[in-house]
């Protein structure tokens, strides 16, 4: 009996182990399978847009593909999230094409093979990747594995309120920005801030570290992919600039101002209300201003750079939507035709960009006469094309290093809790590296 019981237990354990192993490897790669792109078939495309005008924009962009490939029917499924995409791939039943609003997970998707490596298809099609700006090429691949293609993009610039600027020109360097911020700030008799010239805190909506620190020339990671906070003096330069302006306002005044701001995507936004003279924001703010503050007289310019990098003025932070073919896609060749069309066809990109108010992601589309966007949008097209523009590099654990630096800045640096900045940044390096190691980086 004991022998039989032991055998049964062993068999059950083996069965459970097999089930577990099967579960872990579900959704095997079928990149080479599926009908040829010339055969009649239907491909399923998951995307995140959900508002009626957004869904229509996607349909309009796809119309050209339908004409070029009448044998391929495209079934669009809107409102899909990264979690759903991952679960579908994990469950072995993914769509043929997936897109994501964030570049954060590209490192994980490329490393794990959740999204197929597109390099062989790109080579076979003879696609020229130089039609994408350098930063865009960098956020769509990880360690040489290109598992994503760019589909529209976002660029960041400086918005300024012309009335509050009182004839001043937008600043080009951080010292000019600081001087102008001080000049344009209006305080109440008790010292609290009525109008902020420029609010440097990372808690001010888009003034996050990844949008401002790059203007100081920071290198987020070393060549071997480790954290670089203590090794790169540009981080200290950024932090010291941030703190000097916060201290000039007074930290308590800054907190009071931040708490009174309301929501970022409502008409109470302080820039739209005239409570800040200058603010860093994405290109989409032009659409919000059109809708929520049509009377606002404003201009846009690239975000200033640190004084020692004056030649880099014109660049900024860029990011964007990505699209790819998931592991296990059933119609991979047709899916590639679709991805190639949507990410490189100027007509499709321009249609899409016009409808969504985003930056088109190829250099030819950026100079298309078909673009119909407000005049202030020109800055973002220029920032996007600028070779000094940068993005945050992908890692196997998304943008964890950015999140940790942001938390450090917000919770320790800005309130003045750090006595030894060098030591604090070394500790931060250690935490980021440990976290990367945890994720297999």
């Amino acid at each position: 009996m004991p022998t039989t019981t032991t055998r049964r237990l062993a068999a059950a354990a083996a069965a459970a182990g097999l089930a577990l192993a099967a579960g872990c490897t579900a959704g095997g790669d079928q990149s080479g399978k599926g009908p040829a792109s010339g055969e009649k078939q239907t491909i399923e495309v998951w995307h995140g847009w959900s508002a009626p005008h957004e869904v229509k924009a996607f349909q309009d962009a796809v119309a050209g593909f339908n004409k070029a490939h009448p044998n391929i029917t495209v079934k669009l499924v809107n409102g899909q999230t990264d979690d759903r995409i991952t679960n579908a791939i994990r469950g072995g039943n993914p769509p043929d094409v997936v897109s994501s609003f964030t570049t954060d997970s590209v490192g994980q998707w490329c490393q794990s093979g959740a999204w197929q490596d597109l390099s062989p298809r790109i080579a076979k099609s003879g696609l020229d990747l130089n039609q994408f700006p350098r930063a865009v090429r960098s956020y769509t691949e990880y360690k040489g594995t290109r598992c994503a293609m760019p589909l529209l993009a976002d660029a960041y610039g400086l918005y300024y309120n012309k009335k509050l600027m009182k004839g001043e020109q937008p600043p080009k360097t951080m010292s000019e920005l600081t001087a102008l911020a001080r000049k344009l700030t209006v305080r109440s008799p008790d010292g609290t801030i009525k109008v902020a010239g420029f609010m440097p805190s990372v808690q001010y909506y888009e003034h996050q570290v990844q949008h401002l620190a790059p203007q100081f020339g920071v290198r987020w990671l070393t060549d071997d992919g480790r954290a670089n906070f203590s090794g790169d003096p540009a981080f200290q330069a950024y932090l010291k600039w941030n703190k000097s302006l916060i201290d000039w306002y007074g930290y308590d005044n800054v907190k009071k101002f931040l708490r009174s701001m309301g929501q970022e995507f409502e008409s109470s936004n302080p820039f739209e209300k005239g409570r800040t003279a200058m603010a860093v924001d994405g290109e989409w703010r032009t659409r919000f201003i059109q809708k929520e503050a049509p009377g606002l007289d404003y201009g846009t310019a690239p975000v200033p750079v640190s004084d020692d990098r004056a030649s880099a003025y014109g660049g900024g932070f860029v990011t964007g939507t990505v699209i790819g073919i998931p592991r296990g896609a059933r119609h991979a060749p047709a899916a590639w035709e679709f991805v190639r069309y949507l990410t490189t066809d100027t007509g499709a990109l321009v249609t899409f960009a016009n409808a969504l108010g985003n930056v088109p992601s190829t250099i030819p589309a950026l100079s298309s006469p078909g673009l119909r966007l407000p005049p202030q949008f020109r800055t973002f097209l220029d920032v996007f094309k600028n070779p000094n523009s940068s993005t945050t590099p992908p890692t196997p654990n998304g943008n964890d290093y950015v999140v940790r630096f942001e938390k450090f800045t917000q919770e320790e640096w800005e309130p003045g809790k750090v006595s030894d900045l060098g030591q604090a940044l070394k500790r931060l390096d250690g935490e980021v590296d440990d976290s990367l190691k945890l994720a297999g980086g």
Binding site: A16, L20, C24, G27, D83, T86, I89, R90, F101, T102, T103, D104, S105, Q108, Q111, S112, G113, A114, D154, Q203, Y205, Q208, Q210, K255, R259, S260, M261, G262, Q263, E264, F265, S268, G282, T319, G320, T321, R327, T391, T392, P396, N397, G398, N399, D400, V403, E406, K407, Q410, E411, P415, E431, D434, S435, L438, A439, G440
Partner: protein, 325 residues
């Protein structure tokens, strides 16, 4: 039962072999009746628990799996965010759970005394519990926001300034506690049912013996409702250890941030004060794909819940025993 059936002669049984067969048949019958529950228990408890333990020794990103031994456990020891999340969660367990039980008991006790309008008052106290947690949290943050909320403006006019709930790290957890007390309807309703079940004759006898209000509450009400108190405390602890939605929404709304391409809200605003253990588990598992490490966090949460449950059940048993003596 098995030993009894072995001693009693069963119909048709002939000698030891027949009895053994009958016992086997009886066991199989019992197992057949139990099988739906056993299958569910195995599938939905034993297997996930075993899988969680297994994955906790791996680096698992939902696609690739690598055995890493105790690395995930070692990482937990110096993961500052995990310990911040644990401290916040234990703070909420220590403050929110007892307050909710006391507040629920107090409200129920009050309702048993009120003769007129009790139905309306019951509804008023219960209704907030029916409000979806996301809506309730958003409303609370707006109501208490010093920049946009009417309550701070009103209190300032009255000369009693309110603290800056949800924006001040020192007041964010008390803010969440207020929200929890506002939605105490679930605890109140079971307390009310328990209080209404206390035999009136016991109070009458105690009154004849000269027992005052506190003595009646201490020696009659409390022992009688102690099973319900135990239930509320245990379920409250488990719910609070899994506290996710309210702190996530409160932090996000108070920070004024939205999820944007390339930017995700990091839970815990302000200054990590609303970061709870389940939020950190979610962040590690579903944002950073560290499923192996998330499994370690899940096991810690499971062990903590078990420890609290055993402790509370023992305390309440001791309490009931003391009363019985």
């Amino acid at each position: 039962m098995a030993s009894l059936s072995a001693r009693l002669p069963l119909p048709g049984a002939r000698g030891g072999t027949a009895a053994a067969r009958a016992r086997r048949r009886r066991r199989l019958r019992i197992l057949a009746f139990l099988s739906p529950w056993l299958a569910g228990f195995g599938l939905f408890f034993v297997y996930p628990l075993a899988a969680t333990v297994y994955f906790s020794f791996t680096r698992y990103n939902l696609f690739t799996l690598e055995y890493v031994g105790l690395d995930n456990y070692a990482y937990l020891l110096h993961d500052r965010d995990a310990w911040t999340a644990m401290r916040n969660t234990l703070w909420l367990v220590a403050v929110l759970v007892p307050l909710r039980v006391l507040f629920g008991l107090g409200a129920a006790q009050l309702l048993t005394r009120i003769k007129r309008g009790a139905g309306v008052l019951r509804s008023v106290l219960y209704l907030p519990y029916l409000v979806p947690p996301v809506s309730a949290t958003v409303a609370f943050v707006f109501l208490l926001n010093p920049g946009t909320g009417p309550l701070p403006a009103l209190s300032a006019r009255l000369g009693i300034p309110l603290p800056d709930f949800f924006n001040d790290a020192a007041w964010a957890k008390p803010g969440l506690t207020l929200l929890g007390l506002w939605a105490v309807g679930d605890v109140m309703i079971i307390m009310l049912a328990a209080l209404l079940n206390v035999p009136a004759s016991l109070y009458e006898a105690a009154a004849i013996d000269g027992a005052g209000a506190w003595a009646r509450f201490r020696h009659i009400t409390l022992p009688t409702v102690s099973p319900v108190l135990a239930f509320s405390a245990v379920t409250g602890v488990i719910e609070t250890l899994q506290y996710f939605t309210q702190p996530m929404v409160a932090g996000k709304v108070a920070s004024g941030r939205a999820d944007l391409p390339g930017v995700q809200y990091s839970p815990g605003y302000p200054d990590g004060s609303t970061l709870t253990f389940p939020q950190w588990l979610y962040d590690q598992g579903f944002r950073q794909f560290n499923m192996g490490y998330a499994c370690v966090l899940a096991l810690v949460m499971f062990a903590t819940a078990m420890a609290f449950t055993v402790f509370l059940l023992r305390r309440f048993r001791a309490f009931a025993g003391e009363e019985a003596r």
